[in-house]
Homo-oligomer: 458 residues x 2
């Protein structure tokens, strides 16, 4: 797809060079707003306003909503007040609210000045809700019906008011703003009798979310129930808006990226990689690197305190990286599995005993298999093949036993920390590989040296 | 939500104990099939067929589609042929195809025997396509219209044929099976004149996918364009089915889980965590653990070859964990960022030079900051505070310089490997932390010892 857009971008550049505006417009008309936006991002900035003016009003607004905030700001600065007014009032109100949230104060002022009073009121309504809440991602434009309407009246109402609703396919039956039920256009169209009242065919067991429900939960509910939209009600049970499936999909992708970044010890960012400067990347990566580096002081101290033992048996040092890496890998397998299950809602705190028991069994199996393989490797490869006679069967045993214990510790720490973090209201994703590796490193070295001391220097 | 279902499950258990079937039925009727399925999974297995028979036909089929394959199999074995026939023919054809794919051969035989001839034909059609392709997740039930139909005729056709289509909201205009355009129910309802031919209001610039397009790409296109469904065409340009947004959402979640698992060195599985046995978990985790453990042999060999140097300066050993962990963390930050950007389609092979340049700059900044902090930490904490006089400024310099070089190497390896893997048709997600840690460990030790030899033992 990207390749395709790039070559269209080239064609458009060439056409603009030759001032062939009509052909350019014809090409744009064949395209989806998301693709037009992608082309805008490829073009030199001074060309964008010109290209934008070639688009019909609706396509212009849709393309605008797809642009990255940097380009949106640039465009707004290049538009006249009249042009801005047209675009702003053509936007869906949730997109307009997103825009207002992203822009600097002086641009926001211009946007709100050009918005119709109704639009302005609704934007402000959405902006009242905390970030990442259902209220902040909902749209206030939906089709509402009265329970007493007939199917024919309902269809007539949709035809009359549907044009600027984000979705018309699920309609909400309300009375004095209370949500009574939902009815789909499918139900209305397939109803056998046009005179049936809406209240008779509506589904009165409505699944709704509160304005303050977390956006990730909303997205997961939409995914679970396969709904086109979920109604949002305030604490008084009054319907205030809907969250549509397309916004839910964006939320799912965004939140997952955030989780993945946190699991790798990166502070989350919304900027796409290629648009982040090295300085941006640095700022998001250095805090965890520093923290983890400093916390490795403990492992250093442990090694230092066993310095004399190590000096006597330097061969023990050679196995430190293998023990640490295997511990880190085992721990991150568990923690990542648990973090994902938590974020998909498959696990909760009450499951902790079952999880621990499962991980103990798994750790036992993994530890046994790894220890056996490791023993064979050390005796056959390191001792026989490489002829390292410093390595005795006892040394190999110490290493392999440490390995098994390390795997057990790593899996325990890896499964327990994320669940406890969640319970404490912290983000489980932060309890992933880097963090756990640091803890497991220290613990596995302690086991290693304690055991070596007992068996080898006893 | 889960908590809520659990308490409903309790109520239903109590009602069943008292044989209050009507009340049980009344409760079930208020619930969404996804929630009913969740309750089934909480109940004792022998109760499920009874509960299932309380549901009306449509709800029964929808609930059945939401069940986990284990329960589906159990249910089918408990159903009579007549009951099975009703359920199977009520299913959407893509759900029926999924079912056939999951069940053992003897159950499949029963299912296909009970399916209507048309259903059987369509199931077989879908099963022809390779796993994870658009063809394998599509449904063949969609509304098709003729270009010459008027708006009124189109609406009449939807009303007549729409009842068992998965979505009626996007209709496909075809002629001799060629896809000419799409028209939404919104366009039809909002059309000003009922006599307008469909060909005049349809969107003829249709975005479609091929039967063999990868399901992840299909899902990302649906997310990008905010479509309810994407048409699937075969290599002759004939329309064969549609992929709907709800299946796309499931694909997005599944594929991301798979990526996350691979990044943590786990072989992907579709089984939810709590339903996986310790043996399952073991089988999916041990291959990478073994591979990575064995590959740590190199780091061991490097240390062994510097054994004499280490024996003379045991203090150097104390910094090995810190250097290795920082290298691993730096590398995994880069690799995970790049893997995610690749899977979101934000990056491709042609961007490699830009990526490398960005990572070099970032590595430079991170390396400098870490080296400075590390130097201060070693001199103030390890040497002054802990009074470890073995540590000289020169030792600290060797450690910090190695640290900076390690960060650079780690970020280079971390960004290059996933992009090259993708180019070679391999899965970039496998090139994540565990794999990169192993490479970076070996390289950083080589740098460390080479540098120590030059400066400390020169």
């Amino acid at each position: 797809m990207m390749q395709h857009n790039l070559s269209v971008a080239k064609t458009i550049k060439a056409l603009l060079d030759e001032k062939k505006y009509q052909s350019t417009k014809d090409i744009l008309l064949t395209m989806n707003p998301a693709d037009i936006a992608a082309i805008f991002e490829e073009l030199a900035e001074e060309r964008i306003p010109l290209l934008f003016r070639l688009l019909p009003k609706e396509a212009a607004a849709e393309t605008f909503a797809e642009l990255d905030p940097r380009l949106q700001e640039l465009m707004i600065r290049g538009l006249s007040d009249t042009e801005l007014r047209e675009i702003v009032n053509e936007l869906y109100v949730d997109d307009a609210a997103d825009l207002v949230e992203e822009m600097p104060a002086n641009v926001v002022k211009r946007i709100l000045a050009q918005a119709d009073p109704q639009m302005r009121k609704e934007i402000n309504e959405i902006l009242r809700y905390p970030e990442n809440s259902a209220g902040s991602i909902m749209t206030t434009e939906y089709v509402s019906l009265r329970p007493g309407m007939t199917v024919a009246e309902a269809i007539a109402r949709i035809r009359k008011t549907g044009v600027d609703k984000e979705t018309i396919y699920t309609c909400y039956v309300t009375e004095s703003r209370k949500l009574l039920g939902t009815v789909s256009v499918k139900d209305l169209l397939l109803a056998e009798d046009d005179a049936t009242p809406v209240s008779q065919i509506m589904d009165e067991y409505v699944i709704s979310v509160n304005t303050l429900t977390d956006q990730e939960e909303v997205a997961q509910m939409l995914a679970k129930y396969n709904f086109l939209a979920l109604p949002v009600v305030d604490t008084d049970g009054h319907m205030v808006g809907i969250v549509t499936f397309d916004d839910a999909m964006d939320v799912l992708v965004e939140e997952t990226t955030e989780d993945i970044e946190k699991m790798a010890g990166i502070m989350p960012t919304e900027k796409p990689y290629l648009r982040s400067s090295a300085w941006d990347l640095f700022k998001h990566r250095i805090p965890w690197l520093m923290l983890l580096m400093v916390s490795a002081t403990f492992t250093g101290m442990i090694i230092t305190s066993f310095e004399s033992a190590l000096a006597a048996q330097v061969v023990l040092t050679a196995f430190i990286p293998m023990l640490m890496d295997t511990g880190g890998n085992s721990g991150s397998q568990s923690s990542v599995t648990i973090i994902r299950a938590l974020s998909l809602g498959e696990l909760e705190f009450a499951d902790l005993p079952r999880v621990i028991w499962k991980e103990i069994q798994t750790a036992f199996l993994c530890g046994l298999a790894l220890a056996a393989l490791c023993f064979a490797k050390i005796m056959l490869f390191d001792r026989l093949l490489l002829g390292n006679t410093d390595i005795t069967a006892l040394t190999a045993f110490v290493v392999c036993f440490t390995m098994a214990v390390t795997v057990l510790i790593a899996k325990m720490v890896g499964c327990t920390l994320p669940i406890c973090a969640k319970k404490l209201g912290l983000d489980p994703a932060v309890m992933a590989s880097p963090f756990i590796t640091t803890i497991v490193d220290a613990l596995s070295l302690l086991v290693y040296f304690a055991f070596a001391r007992a068996l080898l220097f006893g």
